[in-house]
Amino acid sequence: MSAVPILDRAEAEARCLAAWRDAPGLWGFLTTVDHKRIAGRYVCTTMALLFMAGVLALDMRLQLAFPGMHRMGAQGYNEAFTLHGSTMLFLVSVPVMEAMAMWLVPLMLGQRNMAFPRLNAFSYWTYLGGVLMLWVPHALNVTPDLGWFQYPPLSGPGYAPGHRTDVWAQMITFTEVAALSVSVNTAVTILRMRPLGMTLAKMPLFLWAMLVASVMTILALPAVMLVTSMLIADRLVATHFFDPVAGGDVVLFQHLFWFFGHPEVYIIFVPALGFVAQIVETFSRRRVFGYIPVVLSLLTIAVLAFGLWVHHMFAVGLPKLGASFYTAASMAIALPTGLQIYCWIATLWGGRPRLTTPLLWVIGFIATFVIGGLSGVMTASAPLDLQLTDTYFIVAHLHYVLIGGALFPLFGAFCYWFPKATGRLLSERWGKVSFWLVFGGFNLGFFPMHFLGLMGMPRRIYTYGHEMGWQPLNVVALAGSVIAVGGGLIFVANACFSFKRGAPSGPNPWEASTLEWACASPPPPYNFTHSPVVDSLTPLWPPPQVLPVVTGLSLDEREVLVTSVVDAQPVHRQASAKPSIWPLVSALAVSATFVGSIFTPWALVWGTLPVAAALTAWFWPHRRLTPGARRLLGKAT
């Protein structure tokens, strides 16, 4: 037998559990900094919102299925598509990808938590503030009604009185603060908290994808925060950023919005590529084909994504040279994306694929995303875009890209990591049923929209006349949507049932290769008692009898290992933040400031005090007082 020393796992687990477990009950719920608990509530919130946005979508499909329908008026329809789009883009797609990263990144790094645990908690509470910012006013009939991008002058003080636009703009501030917090946390965790041996060249592709998406978020989201703040200022304190009469320019809004808006698509899509990489590798039972080209293509996408925003503005009337440049750039991004698709196909081709539910979702992704990508290449051409813009062709394209390109891999990721999160297996049979219903229903629902667009059906109309001839395809779209939503409900039911009754999964049911499968399912609060050491891209292939680890990190205190950026060499130990109520209090103070600033600019001034006080309490280091301070406070020395 092997003579290697074996650590006493039971004792280490007991000591780590004492150091890392949360307080019981409500206090523990409010103060937790466990990345898994916070990510879990992030995911649950996004799924509840996905359901509500889906109901809105069905409602709109029903409205449009037949001509001359008046069950929903123009105002109601405007509110429905605004709420649907804003919820899906700002409250579901970006947050859910970040939540998945928050849950997975430390586990995949063999770490006990993320770099800044309290920042995660703050992020979730602030995000929840954004959710309430949009949906509570909706309940009070103050629903934004100008679409998910609210162009001035329509959204300016002259044409949009009341607070509908302010609600939308400030919801964005909430969600972007939350997203930026997670992004900094994710990027720093990946760069500085990799286990020994996991050099940049041995980093799983999901981590590369999340690193790229996080840096993109850091550079793109300030644009939308800036532009919505400028819009609020135009409405609240009579600035003139977008007022042409006073030297402003409405097109400036569009530039700033889409400087964020196009990278946003890739901020949603790139994490999905990370899911695809891990799923394809595991179920092909071989390493991903073309690791280096895939990494390079992720980096290329990140760069090119910042040079495309103007293709959303071809109809504005830009100089021809500019339009040609952005046409070329928009087409160029198909190359790195296509290269990755070929790498996934080559991996499947050269492996021994197991056609489980997660892989089915990935195959569904490849088929659907290729269609969405091709319609994207079509609309990248400025002359064609001028014909197709604001028609149902664009509705079809964006849903093929976002649902096929991001949500299908996300659903695959749910199926793939469900056993790790819950310790139980999903039903494969019902998983496949839900996949085929969603995949089939989606394509049935959205493919006809390409034709509707070519037939001239515009976006954002609440009804149409018989003579337009759009009814048959709209009925098909309704049928497809109903089928897809049915599939989604089966997916959720499968998850709920399996959560209670599913077969136990064990730590590594898929025989996967990355480190998250080397801890228990579900992972304990501390994830790993000891930091693993890796020497390859696939440390669990072949399955090791013993896992090499480093000792020396405290088992009795919350402590994590910090390593160097490129080589993952050990640098220092870092105390990891304990549970705290102050992130929640800070988020409440920030929320009060944001909500108040819709009504008065003084809210920003007075809000500074509680925000500063809460942040001070959050970061206040608890160390021994100096003798002088002890005397002053009357404490014994």
Binding site: I6, L7, R9, A115, L119, L180, V184, N185, V188, R192, L196, I218, L219, L221, P222, A223, L226, M230, A233, V237, A238, T239, H240, F241, G247, D249, L252, H255, G506, P507, A518, A520, H530, V533, P543, Q545, V546, L547, P548, V549, V550, T551, G552, L553, L561, V562, P570, V571, H572, R573, Q574, A575, A612, T616, P621, R623, L625, T626, G628, A629
Partner: protein, 205 residues
């Protein structure tokens, strides 16, 4: 097969320090991330100003004199000079020198208060209201953005100063002092381009 592998020790990290200074430390990277976010905001706000400037027939518009230069120059000189004690403080903090760090924090706190005072005079002498026209809106946008950063670092410096006089810091807290000084360097470096946009562009257009 589907069971957790045993763990075997291949190294020990118990002797590693409990903090590292500057870019070797973890917190520095978080601060750097937020500097990137805020830096992107500055660049985009400056880009917006240049975008509207390029379209404007006159900058500033008729009837609006450029911002008064005196207080702006005084602020610029003082903030650039503040870099010297700030760099000294950063070095002493990295050396875990408590008396020097306390002195540096007091000096930087006083400089921050003086700069906020000067900034108040600057804002009073911009010679345009934010609500007058797009030029005024952009001038105020740039100034408010930078002022919020000066104020943030001032509050941070004052809190750390009070803490350092009442507590016995360890290496992680010295690293915090060093990172706070690093953030001030960011606030200093962002000012010259904003100064040129706010004070220079109206004079050269």
């Amino acid at each position: 097969m589907n069971a957790l592998p045993d763990l075997t020790p291949v190294g020990d990290v118990a002797e590693l320090p409990d903090a590292a200074m500057g870019p070797r430390g973890l917190i520095w990277w978080g601060t750097f991330g937020f500097m990137l976010i805020e830096g992107a905001g500055f660049v985009l706000a400056g880009g917006s100003l240049l975008y509207l400037w390029a379209q404007a027939p006159q900058w500033p518009p008729v009837g609006a004199p450029p911002p008064a230069l005196g207080f702006g120059l005084a602020f610029t000189v003082l903030i650039l000079l503040s870099a010297l004690p700030n760099i000294w403080l950063q070095k002493r903090a990295r050396a875990c020198d408590l008396p020097a760090s306390r002195l540096g924090l007091v000096v930087m706190g006083l400089l921050g208060v003086a700069l906020m005072g000067l900034r108040g005079y600057e804002l009073a002498h911009l010679n345009i209201r934010w609500s007058a026209n797009a030029y005024g809106s952009l001038i105020w946008l740039m100034m408010i953005l930078h002022t919020s950063h000066v104020l943030t670092d001032l509050i941070d410096t004052l809190v750390i100063a009070v803490w350092s006089f009442t507590h016995e810091p360890g290496r992680p807290q010295f690293a915090d002092i060093s990172d706070n000084a690093g953030y001030w360097s960011f606030v200093v470096l962002t000012w010259p381009p904003i100064f040129l946009l706010v004070y220079g562009l109206p004079r050269w257009s």
